[in-house]
């Protein structure tokens, strides 16, 4: 899907302008510029240590940037806690290691935030949670503890948990990297069906098949910089930079 870059900021949900980040002396993100429109699906790939995870973690302020601006859904991300909380309500995140809460059941994992952050009544929160657990195809696990589920099931619960907050933007930080091949398919299928619903998605992943199927844009990062950003078709068949060509020649096609 190629579209002309619209200049109107009206439907931009994420804007990153001239953003830099350092870990102490180490310059981990260099002059990042990124615009994401509503409903866009972006896959970010690149070698380890290129700053892909760090960049998306800056979007929900799990990491702080030292220079530049990040504006999410019209709210600028600064040290102001109110802004940070407002952004985090609208941005959901799925982690590589699931990060489910082991002392709560699957259902409690999903209803905790809606009840206490969005002040949704318990019955309604549970109904929403069951609806999303059905969407990810594991409603029967609702009363189990995360320790009793397989990796693929845990990751699907994590996806459902984020969706229960009804975010506008979903961030995925290598969601399938800790899973075996059968479970990868389960999770990717869920993400594909999610993508078809129109939610804005930013996904850091090595699953190139997923990228080809779902992405509107593929971004390649290396050493803290965005090297290339293109539609999947262009990206895979016609890479512009040498670094991209080198990377693509080395990864296995999933």
């Amino acid at each position: 899907m190629s579209e002309t870059q619209s200049n109107s900021t009206a439907d931009l949900c994420i804007e990153i302008r001239n953003m830099d980040k350092w870990y102490g002396d180490f310059h981990v993100l260099k002059n990042i510029n990124l615009e994401v429109r509503k409903g866009e699906k972006i896959v970010i790939c690149g070698p380890s240590g290129s700053g892909k995870s760090t960049m998306i973690r800056c979007i929900n302020r799990l990491e702080e940037h030292q220079k530049g601006d990040i504006i999410v859904d019209g709210t600028e991300l600064t040290n102001d806690l109110k802004n940070i909380d407002a952004v985090r309500r609208e941005v959901g995140m799925v982690f590589q290691h699931f990060n489910l809460f082991p002392h709560l059941t699957v259902l409690e994992n999903c209803t905790l935030a809606p009840i206490w952050v969005r002040k949704v009544p318990k019955a309604e929160a549970e109904a929403t949670a069951m609806e999303f657990l059905e969407r990810v195809k594991i409603p029967e696990q609702a009363n189990k503890y995360p320790g009793q589920l397989s990796g693929g099931q845990q990751q699907r619960v994590a996806i459902a948990r984020s969706l229960c907050m009804r975010p506008n933007i979903m961030l995925f930080d290598e969601p399938t990297s800790a899973l075996d091949p059968e479970m990868i398919k389960e999770v990717l299928d869920t993400m594909v069906s999610l993508a078809e619903e129109g939610i804005t998605m930013l996904c850091v992943t090595h699953e190139m098949g997923f990228a080809k199927k779902v992405a509107d844009r593929v971004i390649f990062m290396d050493e803290g910089e965005i090297i290339e950003s293109n539609s999947p078709h262009e990206f895979f068949d016609n890479p512009q930079h040498d670094r991209t060509k080198l990377f693509l020649s080395q990864i296995l096609d999933h």
Partner: protein, 369 residues
């Protein structure tokens, strides 16, 4: 490689019970006591030592013991003089609390058991109301024990014995846990004032023995307060003991907080939970669960440290025991006295340890199947 002949077709193997000689009492004996030559020898030597020691101990303690009597002369020379314990029992339990008012101590203890059950046992009926009662109990208990507001006041210098140990122990335990949690969280804070205050407090307290703090409480505190203010001695002791235990508690909890994967807080934050919510629902439940062994350890230590009050003139069971040993009617009975005190402490501390195991098992949702 040759395949062993399968007696069942693949997929049809039934679940069989284990072979007879791997279960049962004989198996347990063989596995645990006689599994090797060295183990067998050690077992036989232990049985022999027990044979030497145990019968005479049981004889002395139970069979030849004198249970009733009024002076030392009534006691048989070869047996334990348990009559002494009986005679002095009220002293051991109530200290010098006025005899006619002891019903207040009994009532306070029963209510303590009820409040304790409300907090520790989650299947208690009407839990919400019971917890409200437990919250009000410290005031009810203090009122019952020391009087005022309708009840005849009893000076705290009259408290002694088991009752004193329970007062100090329970107050210390109940006070040090929330305070310890606040100190541990404060130590992690980004605000320098809070952080350095917490670090300073914890390190100062851990740097001095409890006994010096008790001396400060009993002698020096009056120099720091405006002249004329008298601050009840027992109250001062309770405050010092609570502060002391909370510093150690803070470090135990800090260990638990550090053991949590960083991803837990990140997941909580990414869902939009603010700091108090993340602490209350995600971080503290897990950190406290991990820290249960350390926390109960600190409680047990604190409980036994209550015997130190003897240096400032308050008489706990050990203090009363030592005073009793000097009584001319009952000379030379230190064994019975110390044994009695030891049994009391053992029952309390072992009870706490068992409860801790129960709690750990109950909270172990990771392995529930």
């Amino acid at each position: 490689m040759t395949m062993t002949k399968q007696t069942y077709a693949p997929g049809t193997h039934p679940s069989l019970p284990p072979p007879k000689n791997t279960i049962g009492v004989t198996f347990w004996l063989k596995e645990n006591l006689f599994s090797s030559a060295t183990n067998s020898i050690v077992t036989l030597v232990s049985i022999y030592l027990l044979y030497l020691a145990l019968p005479s101990a049981i004889n002395w303690l139970f069979i030849d013991a004198t249970y009733v009597g009024t002076t030392r002369k009534d006691c048989a020379p070869d047996g334990a003089c348990l009559a002494f314990i009986g005679e002095r029992f009220n002293l051991f339990v109530y200290g010098f609390y006025p005899a006619e008012l002891r019903w207040r101590v009994n009532l306070a203890t029963i209510l303590l058991a009820v409040a304790g059950a409300a907090v520790l046992w989650d299947k208690i009926p009407a839990r919400k109301h019971m917890l409200k009662f437990a919250l009000a109990y410290p005031f009810i208990g203090a009122w019952l024990l020391s009087g005022g507001l309708g009840l005849e006041p009893v000076g705290t210098h009259l408290f002694g014995g088991l009752m004193l140990t329970l007062t100090i122990g329970v107050t210390g335990i109940v006070g040090s846990l929330p305070l310890g949690i606040l100190l541990a969280l404060g130590r992690q804070s980004n605000l320098p004032i809070i952080k350095y205050f917490c670090i300073g407090f914890i390190e100062f307290i851990r740097g001095v023995p409890l006994i010096t703090l008790l001396f400060v409480a009993s002698t020096m505190l009056s120099y720091f307060l405006p002249p004329g203010t008298t601050f009840d001695l027992l109250m001062r002791v309770l405050i010092m003991v609570t502060l002391f235990a909370s510093a150690y508690m803070a470090e135990v909890i800090r260990g638990g907080l550090q053991a949590l994967p960083k991803g837990q807080l990140e997941a909580a934050e990414s869902l939009g939970l603010n700091y108090p919510q993340a602490m209350r629902f995600i971080i503290l439940p897990q950190a406290l669960k991990i820290s249960i062994p350390g926390i109960v350890n600190t409680f047990i230590g604190l409980y036994k440290d209550s015997t130190l009050v003897i240096v400032i003139g308050l008489l706990d069971p050990l203090g009363i025991g030592r005073a009793s040993v000097a009584d001319s009617d009952w000379l030379g009975l230190s064994t019975e006295v110390y044994l009695f005190v030891a049994v009391f402490f053992f029952i309390s501390c072992f009870g706490m340890a068992r409860y801790s195991l129960y709690l750990e098992n109950k909270l172990n949702t990771g392995h529930k199947r």
